[in-house]
Amino acid sequence: MTANDPSTPILQGENIQVQRGGKRILDVSSLKIIPREVLSVIGPNGAGKTTLLQALSRLIRIGKGEICFQGKKVGADMTPLNYRRCLAMVFQEALLFDATVYANVASGLKIRGVNSSEIISIVNTRLEQFGIGHLRDRSAKTLSGGEAQRTSLARAFAIQPQLLFLDEPFAALDPPTRETLLEDLNRVLRTSGTTAIMATHDQVEALRLSDRIAVMNEGRITQIGRPEEVMNHPRDEFVASFVGVETIIEGRVIKCERATATIAINSNPTALMETGAAIPCLEAAGQVQPGEQVFCCIRPEHVTIFPGGRHDRSSARNAFPATINRIIPAGPFYKVHLNGGFPLVAYVTVQSIEDLNLRVGETVIASFKATAVHMIRRC
């Protein structure tokens, strides 16, 4: 690998630990970011996303570990100041100076001592790029939330960072503003080829912007991979529940033949009594050993409901009689909670709810494919 090799990490963190009040709040064994990559760090509040970004950008002291930027160890081969001058950061709050929009966007360049004619040209380009050219002479304190965050992004891109850190930049914005800003950011990131690390708790944002997603919990990265890998193959129960897998069932592998496992579900006896069913078994695609305890994760969009307790032949290996317990509106669709001897959640469109006349208490057939079941081995 050479410094110009696109697979050479632009940023590499090893054994990064941060302690606060005697408690370890960040403990990341290894993290590599390759050039032009957009990595999203997702996780619940308090997972350590912001601390990770601040530690990687050397804005806070790290207790242990080392950060290498373009193969140079920060603090040894390059000073933290020189490292910080290669990056930019956008926070959840715009954190603008009490000055005009122009002065704000120019601030990073002025700090670096760039000459004024160059500043004018760069700033004007960035103002237009983020659609705030008309706000050039406005006081930053009078901007709306969206305008302020655009100014903050323009300020970050004005210094042409080799590495951009985004700490929940859209969290405080209303949905329409967030939508347009997300599109603009995506466009600028892709056209400029800027490497970025974004902390967010919004999976949609992460899916739309990222090449890879890292899931954090309690200061550690629990899984990192391509978005579809993390979403469809969560490594553990926490990742599964965080990335929106509504159904997580515990079970024991009875047999596994031709890469399809039969799993006896550790059911709730009360639920079984309600339906009068035997211990349910489901089939899942994958290689596991009989006797192994596993979590079966089923995403709600993979569950199909057949009304009237009838189910015609299909390729789906799993079909269970189930009772509708609850129907909850969830934006453009409904979340249907089922009891088939184990809890199961399905997403159903408004149209389907009306067409199939689905009602609470009704018995239906819930079906899903063996390939829709993602198995996680229990530790």
Binding site: R84, A88, L95, D98, G108, I111, S139
Partner: protein
């Protein structure tokens, strides 16, 4: 009532006629209080900023001391400065007691905690993450502090006004360490006290009016600067 009206008339006549003695007293007052305020700005903004941006054991005690210092009685300052500058005091060899320099020292001691306290409050009001944002923009520590001071400029302008207002109007320390020597250490406040004690109410009122006019004019200028900076 007649005394007050006579005093105001006298004040305008003294001002219009550019009475040399009054002009001298006024000029000395401005010079002494202006210099003391400038010194207090350097020390007060420096220490206030340092305390606001750092954490150390005993910080709360330091903050409490600064806040207490904001209400420092001028006569107490005058007393201690006199003791320190007294012929047999620790700094007696300097022989600066009963000089304008002694008044400047006393007034700087009075104004510094005021400036420091307001600076501390102003810097603490800035968002904590602003420091990280400035560092992330590639600033050195010095650039970060300078940008934060600029960011708190409206509140710091209030510190200038409070500091200057506090010392131009104080009398206790000035009379104790300056001695109210005619043509040398006599300032507007000490002259007012003296004329009042002599029963020359008209002259005392005249000097009071001049003092008020100057305080008002200087604060008006600073307020205009402050309001011009205010975002609209």
């Amino acid at each position: 009532m007649d005394i007050i009206l006579e005093g105001i008339k006298q004040a305008f006549s003294l001002l219009v006629s550019l009475d040399p003695e009054v002009m001298g007293i006024t000029w000395l007052s401005l010079k002494v209080s202006g210099t003391a305020t400038l010194i207090s700005l350097f020390i007060g903004i420096g220490i206030g900023t340092a305390v606001a941006l750092t954490s150390f054991p005993g910080r709360q005690i330091v903050v409490s001391l600064i806040n207490t210092g904001m209400a420092l009685p001028p006569v107490v300052v005058g007393l201690f400065v006199t003791i320190f500058l007294w012929r047999n005091g620790p700094f007696g060899a300097l022989e600066i007691l009963y000089t304008p320099l002694a008044i400047i020292i006393a007034q700087a001691i009075i104004a510094t905690p005021i400036v420091m306290g307001i600076t501390l409050a102003a810097m603490q009001q800035l968002p904590r993450k602003l420091r990280l944002q400035i560092l992330a923009l590639g600033a050195t520590r010095f650039q970060m502090v300078w940008l934060l001071i600029k960011e708190a400029k409206l509140s710091l302008m209030a510190a200038v006004m409070a500091g200057f207002g506090g010392v131009i109007s104080e009398v206790g320390a000035s009379i104790m360490v300056g001695g109210n020597i005619k043509g040398y250490t006599r300032v507007l406040t000490t002259a007012t006290v003296m004329e009042t004690s002599k029963g020359n109410f008209d002259v005392a009122i005249a000097l009071g009016v001049i003092l008020l006019l100057f305080a008002f004019a200087i604060n008006l200028v600073l307020t205009r600067v402050q309001q011009r900076e205010r975002p609209r």
